[in-house]
């Protein structure tokens, strides 16, 4: 490697990293600033008097904690169910040969192209009907969000896991069968652990998808304030006359933390998992 080339590359990288990081830094900074510094006409890029006042406001006003819990419940239920279902589906679509398999795979690819906004209206009516039969999964209930996010996370999860399942040698399966292991036992005790890295990457994406959703939460949860999720809770601090930026940024920071935790735990696997999924 030529040294000057490397130096230029590193300088450019530092600049890009700084630009990308700036809004994130500003979020945390604003959340920690005392109120008068937030609205100051001459804001400094640091603060000498960090305070948790904004966090207190965000947490106490309008039952932020309740919304946080709602978001967490929806996201976690989606993650667990989507892992289970997409793993089984990916196994079947990779390891079994049956008629219609290719059609199913192409369908799973094509439905990923469907614009989400186009489905809000019919889904709204469907959820209203579902609610008449099973209130828990209808409008104004968290179940409606679980159902929709589960369905929307499925196609990509299956595509991603397919690559991981395919990478497990068939010989292993034959050996397990020769040793007398049943098909189910092979799937759970051999395949499942080997596919674990793919499951991790898949679960992160499903979590983020459900956690970040704004559109469906806004469309489905209309009149039940107690079942609202976090993205909408942030809107409380947006006021026509004077936005409470301290509280908005504190709320945003709190909302970011679960994503960050998930992300830090699995960054490497996410990178290799995504790269593998796209190649395969």
């Amino acid at each position: 490697m030529r040294r000057p080339g490397r130096l230029i590359a590193e300088l450019v990288t530092v600049v890009v990293a700084a630009v990308v990081a700036f809004p994130l830094y500003w979020m945390v900074l604003t959340a920690l600033k005392p109120a008068d510094e937030v609205i100051s006409a001459d804001p400094r890029p640091w603060t000498l008097a960090p305070t948790l006042d904004s966090f207190t406001r965000a947490l106490t006003v309008q039952s932020f904690g309740r919304y946080f819990l709602n978001s967490l419940v929806v996201a976690l239920v989606v993650v667990v169910l989507s892992l289970l279902m997409s793993f089984l589906a990916a196994t079947a679509l990779t390891r079994f040969r049956f008629r219609g398999r290719t059609t199913m795979l192409i369908m799973l690819l094509v439905v990923q192209m469907v614009p989400v906004e186009a489905l809000t209206v019919p889904l709204f009516f469907m959820m209203r009907s579902v609610g008449d039969a099973v209130p828990l999964f209808g409008l104004n209930h968290l179940g409606s969000l679980v159902l929709v996010h589960l369905a929307f996370s499925m196609p990509f999860a299956i595509w991603m896991l397919r690559g991981f399942v395919a990478a497990v040698p068939v010989e292993l399966e034959e050996a397990a069968t020769l040793d007398g292991a049943s098909r189910f036992r092979f799937v759970w005790q051999v395949l499942f652990p080997l596919v674990a890295p793919g499951l991790v990457a898949t679960s992160v994406l499903a979590f983020i998808h459900a956690w970040n959703d704004f559109l469906f939460a806004k469309t489905f949860i209309i009149s039940a304030a107690e079942n609202q999720t976090l993205p909408l809770a942030l809107q409380v601090f947006v006021k026509p006359d004077q936005n409470d930026w301290g509280a908005i940024m504190a709320g945003s920071t709190l909302m970011t933390i679960p994503v960050l935790v998930f992300f830090v735990l699995v960054q490497r696997r996410l990178v290799s998992g995504l790269a593998g999924a796209v190649k395969g």
Partner: protein, 286 residues
């Protein structure tokens, strides 16, 4: 093992397919159906919608708001995805190969973070950066009177989307570049090719397929992205009303469900055409 346990295979696939069928495929077909009715959110046509054939489609294609929106969407996709994310993603992947590991991981992490953070959170962040009277950018440039989101809404959206979405292109090109034989790059260097020539003549032929995949995926994601609603809500005066925002506003603010569904159908068909062209191209390569 082929053909063994068909019943079990079907049992494995059934739950996932059922969900996808009921909550994705069925509503998509329903959208096509609502598009040919005069369905409204409220009023008499809400109780008893009647079929109006292709009237909605004719009206949509004749609607200046739709034409405007189509143009803005094209601008948004071209500026932020096809050019912005593609170029920046490749540049990052290219640069990061020769950067020391901790710097590479940090940069990768930050770029990925911008991608996975909640849409509402990043929207507020950018709103704070770009707004007038106290917006961070205005203060940094000592220009507090420019309301970026109002005066340059599309430019703001493009920059925002490049910031937000480059991670995917970066990841994809990183894995693509890893597959380029180092010996060929070495040869190019020995014969005196500069960086740009090496990219064009050695790297590009290897990653053509990845460029295709990447461009199509990010284009579709960008065309369907709803986040612009959180930043500008289509305003001011429809100047940043990309298709997803227009559809949402027509349906849930205007209550014109039939009309909005006709627009959705057009977007849906457009997406499917792009997807099929893509599958065809991929198959030809393979």
């Amino acid at each position: 093992m082929a053909g063994l346990g068909v019943a079990r295979a079907v049992g494995f696939v059934a739950p996932a397919l059922l969900l996808v069928g009921v909550f994705l495929v069925f509503p998509a077909l329903w959208t096509l159906y609502i598009g040919v009715t005069d369905y409204q959110l409220t009023g008499p046509a809400a109780a008893a919608p009647s079929a109006v054939g292709l009237d909605n489609f004719a009206a949509v294609l004749d609607d200046a708001l739709f034409t405007n929106s189509l143009w803005l969407t094209a601008l948004f996709v071209l500026g932020s995805a096809v050019v912005g994310q593609n170029a920046l993603g490749f540049a990052l992947a290219w640069l990061l190969r020769r950067v020391r590991p901790w710097l590479r991981r940090t940069t990768e992490g930050l770029v990925l973070l911008a991608w996975i953070l909640p849409g509402p959170v990043v929207a507020y962040l950018w709103f704070a950066v770009l707004s007038r009277d106290g917006g961070t950018l205005g203060l940094l440039l000592d220009d507090p009177t420019t309301a970026w989101l109002v005066q340059y809404p599309m430019v703001s959206l493009v920059v925002f989307n490049v910031w937000r979405g480059t991670a995917f292109s970066m990841l994809l090109y990183t894995s693509a570049l890893a597959a380029v034989p180092p010996s060929q790059l070495e040869t190019a260097r020995l014969v005196g090719a500069n960086g740009w020539q090496a990219v064009r003549d050695v790297v590009f032929p290897h990653i053509r397929g990845h460029v295709l995949t990447n461009t199509l995926l990010i284009s579709l994601w960008t065309a369907n992205d709803f986040t612009p609603f959180l930043l500008t809500a289509g305003g001011p005066n429809h100047e940043s009303e990309v298709l997803p925002v227009l559809i949402y506003r027509q349906a849930l603010e205007g209550g014109r469900l039939g009309y909005a569904s006709a627009m959705s159908s057009l977007l849906l068909v457009g997406n499917l055409v792009v997807a099929l062209v893509y599958l065809r191209l991929l198959r030809r390569r393979a």
